[in-house]
């Protein structure tokens, strides 16, 4: 009922662990697969080891989750040793990568591809100043990164993860598709800030961070809806999906698969199974036999 085709992947269900949440160790990946995820995305890796920001790096209140972890990671070289290969695990694994400069995307993509992940996701939301603008905010730069990664990934499908912090996400998605992207992951977090009025300071050590959780969902649904009207490649709809009804909603906007990250905070690792059960329940009640019947139906 929930089988999902995403590029050349056949997923047992559309739920995918989003990047940046858990998934650090090889042993853990198996546990997330057993918990019911259709696929697992690793934390983003770049060409070097990064310690990330100081704490506080994350907190939550009233359906808002804010984080500024600062892209910590062991670096691709250390990950090669840690994982060895990614194609022999109990669940399809998506390798998430980023770089500061185009050459670094080249290099990291090649190394990630050698681990044989089911898909490579490219985090272009890392802000850096080499080009005056972050990659995600510029259609030309997005296309350049996409080409660099595609060139080094062989037959492994590549998904470009977009940021909602742009004027026109359609333009960026279109640029990624034209440059050869096989899929779009939409969306990354939206930039926000929370100030503690007793401390009289922003709570995050980084001051600003990314909003996720239920507060992000309407933004994600809007972005997926807009991207679906613009591109033909599949979309991994990500942002605030916590319940089965949220997954149905984002699929109606046009998502092929559904990313779940912060939802784990609210419902535990059992969220994958819970969301799938809730989706099936809704589908049965509404006499829907498979997800293709409702995908993008909100556009009609």
């Amino acid at each position: 009922m929930l089988q999902t085709k995403l590029c050349n992947l056949n997923l047992k269900n559309p739920t995918i662990l989003a990047s940046g949440i858990l998934g650090v160790t090889k042993e853990r990946i198996g546990r997330i697969g057993k918990a019911g995820a259709g696929a697992v995305t690793l934390k983003s890796l770049c060409h070097e080891e990064r310690q990330g920001n100081s704490n506080p790096t994350m907190f939550a209140y009233d359906g808002v989750f804010l984080n500024a972890v600062g892209l910590p990671g062991q670096g691709i070289d250390s990950a090669l040793k840690d994982f060895q290969r990614l194609d022999n695990l109990s669940v399809p694994v998506i390798g998430s990568i980023y770089g500061y400069r185009i050459e670094q995307f080249d290099n990291v993509a090649k190394k990630m591809a050698s681990l044989k992940p089911a898909m490579i996701e490219v985090d272009i939301s890392c802000p850096h100043l080499d080009y005056g603008k972050p990659y995600y905010a510029d259609a030309g730069l997005t296309a350049e990164v996409t080409k660099a990664v595609k060139k080094n990934s062989g037959k492994i499908p590549v998904s470009i993860k977009l940021s909602p912090n742009v004027y026109d996400i359609k333009e960026i998605a279109h640029a990624a598709e034209r440059a050869g992207a096989d899929a779009i992951t939409a969306i990354n977090t939206a930039t926000g800030m929370v100030i503690d009025i007793d401390a009289k300071k922003p709570v995050l050590a980084n001051k600003t961070g990314g909003v996720s959780g239920p507060a992000l969902k309407p933004i994600a649904v809007r972005c997926v809806y807009e991207i679906y009207e613009t591109v033909k490649i599949p979309i991994i709809g990500t942002g605030g999906v916590t319940y089965g009804k949220d997954a149905i909603e984002i699929i109606m906007a046009g998502a092929a698969a559904v990313g779940i990250g912060t939802g784990i905070y609210y419902r535990g690792i059992g969220i994958f199974k819970k969301v799938c059960d809730e989706m099936e329940m809704w589908m049965k009640k509404n006499k829907i036999k498979n997800l293709n019947e409702i995908r993008g139906c909100a556009h009609k």
């Binding site: 080891e49 709570v203 050590a205």
Partner: protein, 270 residues
């Protein structure tokens, strides 16, 4: 479909320090007039604006107040050390699992690790406490546990027995006159690993409170992984059965970046 789940809140609340107690050299307990509903072995996240946020074990707990005990060992704890009565800092929690509470217990503590075991000791019926530190000035809670059955060791012999807690534990379990059925431990990981091994040899249950670099405290960021366990939610307390399967216990830990290194390298950084 229920939606109360998304009301979950984990954000620091600024709280006023009601009392500061000097416990030892560079060790202080910070009290708050607030009931912290927690179990022995749980911890809170302590936020010092502009500095950092770190986990601290709840070391005193009553209906009226709670405290944590900090030892100055780095930038964060040095700044904590400067705090006075009426200063405000951010607290969230409690977090983590807790010790089982079983009698016929022995508690083995090393250094400031005693603070993670103190609310457990308060709840146990006459446990045998084995407590060690480098030297006399590093010992805490001596007055607090004056009436307890406590054996103190120091590495340099400046107080109590000269030697290590593990020597005393080995001796105590040899004829086991105290009929010890469970050993609770917290302190340097090398010590805890030895305690665990001694317990294994004597087929006695052990529970150890482990420490790893933490950021969220609620199981999401994945920084504190030990094998497939998340230290902040699956732990920080692990029992013998779990420890046996955790090959990283006593050997490896992950840096803030997530890179796995030896415990020794980890402690030279964190």
């Amino acid at each position: 479909m229920t939606h109360h789940e998304t009301c979950r809140t984990d954000i620091p609340k600024m709280m006023e320090i009601s009392k500061v107690v000097q416990e030892g050299k560079g060790q202080k307990s910070f009290f708050f007039n607030h009931h912290m509903d927690c179990k022995p072995g749980q911890f809170v996240m302590v936020w010092l604006p502009d500095v950092d946020e770190k986990p601290m074990a709840v070391s005193y707990q009553s209906k009226k107040e709670f405290a944590f005990t900090s030892q100055s060992i780095g930038k964060f704890t040095n700044e904590i050390d400067k705090l006075k009565k009426n200063s405000k800092i951010g607290i969230r929690g409690p977090y983590g699992n807790s010790f089982s509470i079983k009698n016929n217990a022995c508690v083995v503590a090393g250094g400031v690790g005693l603070s993670s075991l103190s609310t457990l000791i308060d709840k146990l019926k006459n446990p045998l406490v084995i407590y060690g530190a480098r030297s006399r000035q590093h010992l805490i809670y001596l007055k607090r546990y004056k009436s307890r059955n406590m054996t103190v060791t120091t590495d340099d012999g400046s107080f109590g027995k000269k030697g290590f807690t593990t020597d005393v534990l080995r001796e105590s379990l040899k004829n086991n006159k105290n009929k010890i059925k469970i050993v609770y431990t917290c302190g340097p990981e090398i010590m805890m690993k030895k305690v665990f091994e001694i317990c294994n040899k004597h087929k006695i249950q052990c529970e150890a409170s482990l420490e790893r670099y933490m950021a969220c405290g609620f199981g999401i960021c994945g920084k504190c992984m030990i094998n497939d366990k998340i230290c902040c939610v699956d732990g920080p307390i692990f029992n013998s059965q779990q420890l046996r399967k955790m090959h990283e216990f006593g050997s490896f830990a992950r840096l803030k970046s997530g890179r796995k290194v030896t415990i020794k390298e980890y402690h030279s950084v964190h």
